[in-house]
Symmetry: none
Subunit: 205 residues, 4 copies
DNA sequence: TATGAATGAGACTTCATTCAT
DNA sequence: GATGAATGAAGTCTCATTCAT
């Protein structure tokens, strides 16, 4: 029979991390609605009520996972990958490369991101999150495309199209991330294609 | 307060259709888990228990919607669109074109398809459905790519990549379908790109 | 698709009988609570609502089955069996014999009777029935025992005990009726025992 | 209206016992099907959902009551009663005596046992329980009868009959236990009868 | 910090029953 | 006399959450 009171080996931060990890997996696999506190409690070896010492509600917990993932993906993966590139072609190339890297190093993060797209739209409590990521992503894409226009690689006429293509591509890749070889092959193909395309737009006029 | 018994103007077929429509929207917007019988009842003006006259369970209802959508999309939209094409370039062009058409004529169907990808994976009752659609899609893509190889447009070396690209592209488009102008712009861009690409693969060797 | 309106081959009485038969079996096997109109409808090949043309409610249907069974058992089986007997020993012997006969000729009736004991006590709608059968049975037993006292076979001192024994025995037999060989062997044993006992009570003083 | 959260005086064990007691009564009176969680909640002063802290399902609760009753009846009442007896007559005498004692000390247990016979047969979830009790009982009866054969009190020819008689008698007594004076009078009568019968079987040959 | 006891809302579903056809 | 469409009550059970310990 477990004792009451604070266990002698309780380390708040470690427990918090364990909860976040379990939640990330569960939210990715089962979605927000089907991830229950009871399940997370089982997977972390805690009682359901203990989770409330760390996260005041399920939505709060979700937000915490979301923030973590976003930080890892964006600040930790994407930004470093594209820094130091000087052309559109290079930058997109690196971006796609970083997707593959992320998908193999942090598969949970990638899958969470795919699931988040759906879940933030579905649950009003999470609506606030739904904006953040796409917005951030679009700003990034604009930067990339505008670089291409500045370097003359791309024609300004196709700006809108190119942004939509990048968005679609990214969303597609996030969504096939559960099948690593499809993901890898697609990235490889698109990288090759981009190389050619980057120079076509101007001559295409 | 509605009276007991059969209403004067009750017609089973119409009611069934109403339920299917409401379910399609709700499943698309809220997902399987968050779509409750109570909600569907409100939206169809029935008592929750009345739904059971038409569908024996929520999973059954889901399957019915799924079947409908698949029929509309695949047999009703995609197949007619690509029939009569003779080249890879043409065929992909028409395919992409049909995506836009579908998205504007049957937006609910498109959004349901996006949601289905997630929901069939998440809920074991729906697992059987999860296979059907992707399998069908991949067969279609193989046919398309193999046509390109036969006509000499594409190199056999890139078969795997091209399939993955088509898959990724399609999934991406399905997932951005909630934003029609992104969807449209992306399709437009990819159509242009495909035109060029179709002839590159061989020369790229 | 079945036609509306009265079917040309509809014979009310036959249908009524079919329902009663199905109900007897179901009430015996599943009990009152677990016997649903839907089940009866399936077993009779009717729609659930059609049953209401014959029985205004489930309780009504139960009462009808109950009355039938009681009639068959009591008036149709027991009374004829014991008529014409002149001694307690004979009468009990015939009574027990008739139990075996009933159990093999009308097993459903016997099992219904066993179930009824429980169900009439459990469901307040059926309370009225709960009285009838035991009362009738006790009157019969009193008659039998009083005959024994009149013939001098039994001592008046044991009247109360003998009634309770008959009651217990009967209830026991009804309840083991689902196992025909136990039922038969028990009756055989008790018949042999009764023969001896009938003469003991007086000498036992 | 009760407040949320843990009440000041809440003790799990006491609550568990209260639930078991309420369930025993309700299952006996109303049967498995008609005993609802809502009713038990009312009778225990809990919310229906609180019962699930103690028993994961209605069937589980039933099994717990069943196990309790069986323990009380068999191990706690019957076995001690017949231990130390050396003859068939004695042993049956004590057995019957213990039925009366049980019926007056633990009337609920006796009535539950009667109801269990029906309910375990009717509800497939409870099927596993249906075997246990009768089997155990029959083993006991075999032991008793075989003792009688060993001591020469009984003839081996009637073994089967005697077992069936004991079974029928027991089931009958269990089923009249709701009427204590019938129960008592019957036991008294049968005890007297057994005394005589025990010596008849051999001479009857 | 953690547990264990409790709640209320709401999920899916079944049931008896009713009424128009 | 039979069906098909509908209802409201209720059933079992799960969930997020709260509070005393």
């Amino acid at each position: 029979m477990p004792r009451l009171g604070r266990p002698t080996d309780a380390h708040g931060d470690a427990t918090r991390a364990r909860i976040l990890t379990a939640a990330r997996t569960a939210f990715s696999d089962l979605g927000y609605a089907a991830t229950t506190y009871r399940l997370l409690a089982e997977r972390t070896g805690l009682a359901p009520s203990a989770l409330y010492n760390y996260f005041a509600s399920k939505a709060d917990l979700y937000r915490a996972v979301h923030a973590d993932v976003q930080l890892e993906n964006y600040a930790g993966s994407i930004l470093p990958a594209i820094s130091g590139t000087e052309t559109f072609a290079d930058r997109v190339d690196r971006l796609l490369e970083s997707f593959v890297a992320m998908n193999s190093k942090l598969p949970e993060a990638a899958r969470f991101q795919a699931a988040a797209r759906t879940d933030t739209a579905r649950h009003s409590e999470l609506a606030s999150l739904g904006e953040a990521l796409p917005t951030q992503r679009r700003l990034l894409f604009e930067e990339i495309v505008d670089l291409g226009i500045a370097t003359g690689e791309l024609s300004n006429d196709h700006r809108h199209e190119l942004l939509a293509m990048l968005e679609t591509l990214t969303v597609g890749l996030i969504n096939v991330s559960a099948e690593p070889d499809v993901h890898r092959a697609a990235v490889s193909g698109f990288r090759r294609a981009i190389t050619r395309l980057s120079s076509y737009t101007n001559e295409a006029k």
